[in-house]
Amino acid sequence: MTHKTFFAFIFPSLLAMILFIALPIGSIVIQSLHVEHPRILVEVENCGPFGCERETRVDTQATQALQDEQPLGQFNGLGTYFDRRHLATEEVSHIFNNNEGFQDIVRQMYNLPFYKALSFTLVYTFIVTPLGMALGFSIALAVNAIPRFLKGPIIFFSLLPMIVTPLVGSLILFWMINTQGVIGSNLQLLFEDPDLSLRASPLLTWITLIVYGVWSMAPFSFVVFYAGLQTVPSDTLESAKIDGASRWERIRFVVMPHLIPLATFVALVQLMDNFRVFEPIVGFSAEANATSLSWNIFNDLRGQVDQQYSSAAATSVLTVFGVVVLLMPVLIRLWRDFNRKA
């Protein structure tokens, strides 16, 4: 293929990638380096139905002049990245210089919003990804073994968690684990503890979110592994059977090696998906006990009446960075496989 033909083939998707991936990320990076202009403040008397109070307001005309001159705002370098809501360099060095041992460092770091979000995000990603894949794989093996006429309905039911919108799914589960809900009140009966509530303690909230994550993530692994199972060479399986291999041995030594490349792909997708965990936190009203990087971005933009664009942009860039770091081992592995084949 000549270079010209190759370019003509690749051009449309290249253009789409630049327009919809590179440019937005570039604009977010630029946004994160700027903050708003210093506002000129004046004191005025604000009056309403319930009396008057002296309050400050922004002198909009004076501010507008600055705004017209530099519409992007004021250049702040990496200032936003290092402030308390993100990497908090100042606070972190303070913590390392003043602490009472390792546990105290962890406790103090957890008090900083970025590290609090990061710790839940990482724990969630590294527990949900393997468990979700394992569950998906076992469902795939089970479905593969059942009689043909049962397969259709069972596949449909296994896919349900993926069909349900994550926010709706987590809300439904949230109502069920409510102390008046069917799961919540049964757990209270089971443990004979009338105060037991899955929403009250941080540990139980994390477990709930992780269980929800495994439930909603398993179907994707199931679908891919089930498709993969159809390609396992039947003669190898039969010869293993003749050699006297048990069902487990056949899975361990024939099926699993065959599916490894597929598993790498599933792990890649699931790691990315889990790293941007967001909907269950909103659905479970879990922000008191668990926040994630995506939730922090959401909170900056939609939490209150003001939008904090630079802060959200900085968290976004850090999230992209986190995804790259996270995927590095998987990407290196793919690269090696590719080189070996070539």
């Binding site: 903050v35 708003e36 202009h37 210093p38 506002r39 403040l41 004191e43 005025v44 008397e45 604000n46 009056c47 309403g48 139905p49 319930f50 009396g51 109070e53 002296r54 309050e55 400050t56 307001r57 922004v58 909009t60 005309q61 501010t63 507008q64 705002g73 936003t80 402030d83 308390r84 809501r85 606070e91 008090n111 919003p113 409510n178 102390t179 008046q180 009338p194 105060d195 509530s197 929403r199 009250a200 941080p202 479970f284 009203s285 879990a286 922000e287 008191a288 006990n289 926040t291 909170n299 933009l301 939609r302 939490g303 209150q304 009446v305 003001d306 939008q307 904090q308 630079s310 802060s311």
Partner: protein, 412 residues
């Protein structure tokens, strides 16, 4: 024949509507485009404003709970996407800070004969908004339980704690109290309520510097923490709607609920007539020996966009004045606590009105308050769960708030 009848009928109705609307609103021509929050009382007003539509006047209404997130961009363009923004004392600040609000002094003079002086929201000399209803969190109590114990309805937080203790020790309820402590906006709003009741300030006078980390702030947090001992352990996930369900399920005896939700609790569709009938409404409690109720007063009102033609601004103002005319309030007395002239407040509005009459303070209308509210919402939950001290929580709030206002260019 049949077709002809329908056409005549429709035609007649349309003429009737058009002529009556035209006659009452007195708008010559213009385009009215309204953006606002989505709840029943707001809809009552905008439905009235909609009837001002005529051949020369168009009225378009977009009510959405996402209004806060679109109002600034929508009003920034010229001409603005909306001519009217319905706001409350918190959501007006971003509009004022971006200079998107039209001073209404001349329009009030021309068309505002029916307005009460206290409906005018002023900053400095400018009238920037017209308020039409008030709101506040106040006490909803189970009268039957108080009778059973033989106690008077409590009026202070200390009395509430005593009554809660009695309810618990009598074995009536393990968790008799409830509050909207969901981490985030609700928890911060409850902090604001209590802090105002303590006589506390949020900022140092005339500056963006926070003034929370002091005795008032600590007392506020400690009172909130003490109350949670009588609340169901999941208190950090309770919203106003959740609390309504809990109350109507008979799980709560005393709670601090939004005045705008009275009809949902006492109305025919509350789902539990027994509890609805037994409910006593009372102003927000006082705290720490002060006489100021521990509740922030809220108002809902409207502003007119700056970046629109004068004709549209005039038409919009007239349409909204028609929407909030005194007859509207008289026809819908239970829809809201109207701040409108000649409004004869029914029983359901007394909670909010008495809270205001006892001297509760308004929710601060300051450009910093939104950032403060956000910081309170994210940083208080560790303290509420007993994971850190009140001082540490307030230090965190101040640090998080300062980082935000610095980014917004409001502080150095």
């Amino acid at each position: 024949m049949k077709k002809a009848t329908i056409t005549t009928l429709v035609g007649a109705t349309l003429t009737l509507l058009a002529s009556s609307a035209f006659a009452e609103c007195n708008i010559s021509a213009g385009s009215v485009r309204i953006l606002g929050n989505d709840f029943d009382s707001i809809r009552t007003v905008t439905d009235q404003a909609k009837t001002c539509a005529s051949a020369e006047t168009t009225v378009r209404v977009n009510l959405t709970t996402e209004h806060k997130n679109i109002q600034v961009p929508a009003l920034t363009i010229t001409p603005a996407e909306y001519t009217v923004a319905l706001i409350a004392n918190n959501s007006i600040s971003p509009l004022l800070s971006a200079d998107l609000v039209r001073p209404l002094n001349d329009l009030v003079e021309k068309y505002g004969q029916d307005l009460l002086p206290n409906q005018l929201i002023r900053t400095g000399d400018d009238v920037v908004a017209i308020a039409f209803m008030g709101n506040a969190q106040h006490l909803f109590m189970r009268g039957d339980i108080l009778d059973e114990l033989g106690v008077e309805p409590p009026a202070t937080y200390d009395e509430i704690i005593d009554v809660a203790e009695m309810i618990r020790s009598e074995g009536i309820m393990e968790y008799p109290l409830a509050a909207t402590y969901e981490a985030g906006w609700y928890l911060a709003a409850e902090f604001v309520n209590m802090h105002l009741g303590m006589g506390g300030q949020f900022f140092e006078a005339g500056s963006a510097q926070p003034a929370l980390n002091n005795e008032d702030g600590i007392r506020t947090l400690e009172m909130m923490k003490t109350l949670t001992e009588y609340m169901s352990p999941e208190y950090l996930t309770v919203t106003a709607d959740e609390m309504k369900q809990m109350y109507l399920a008979g799980e709560v005896a005393i709670m601090n609920q939004w005045g705008s939700m009275v009809s949902g609790h006492l109305g025919e569709d509350s789902g539990n007539a027994q509890i609805s009938e037994a409910t006593i409404l009372a102003p927000a409690p006082t705290v720490n020996g002060s006489s100021t109720p521990a509740a922030a007063l809220w108002w809902d009102g409207f502003t007119i966009a700056k970046n629109i033609s004068d004709a549209d601004a005039e038409a919009s103002f007239q349409a909204m004045m028609y929407g909030i005319r005194p007859e509207m309030a008289q026809q819908n007395p239970t829809a809201a606590t109207w701040l409108i002239k000649e409004f004869d407040a029914p029983e359901s509005a007394q909670g909010v009105l008495q809270t205001a009459r006892l001297g509760a303070r308004g929710y601060p209308m300051s450009p910093f308050m939104g950032y403060m509210h956000a910081a309170l919402g994210t940083e208080l939950s560790d303290f509420m769960q007993g994971r850190e001290s009140a001082e540490q929580a307030l230090t965190d709030v101040e640090a998080s708030y300062l980082a935000s206002v610095r980014e917004a260019g409001l502080a150095d």
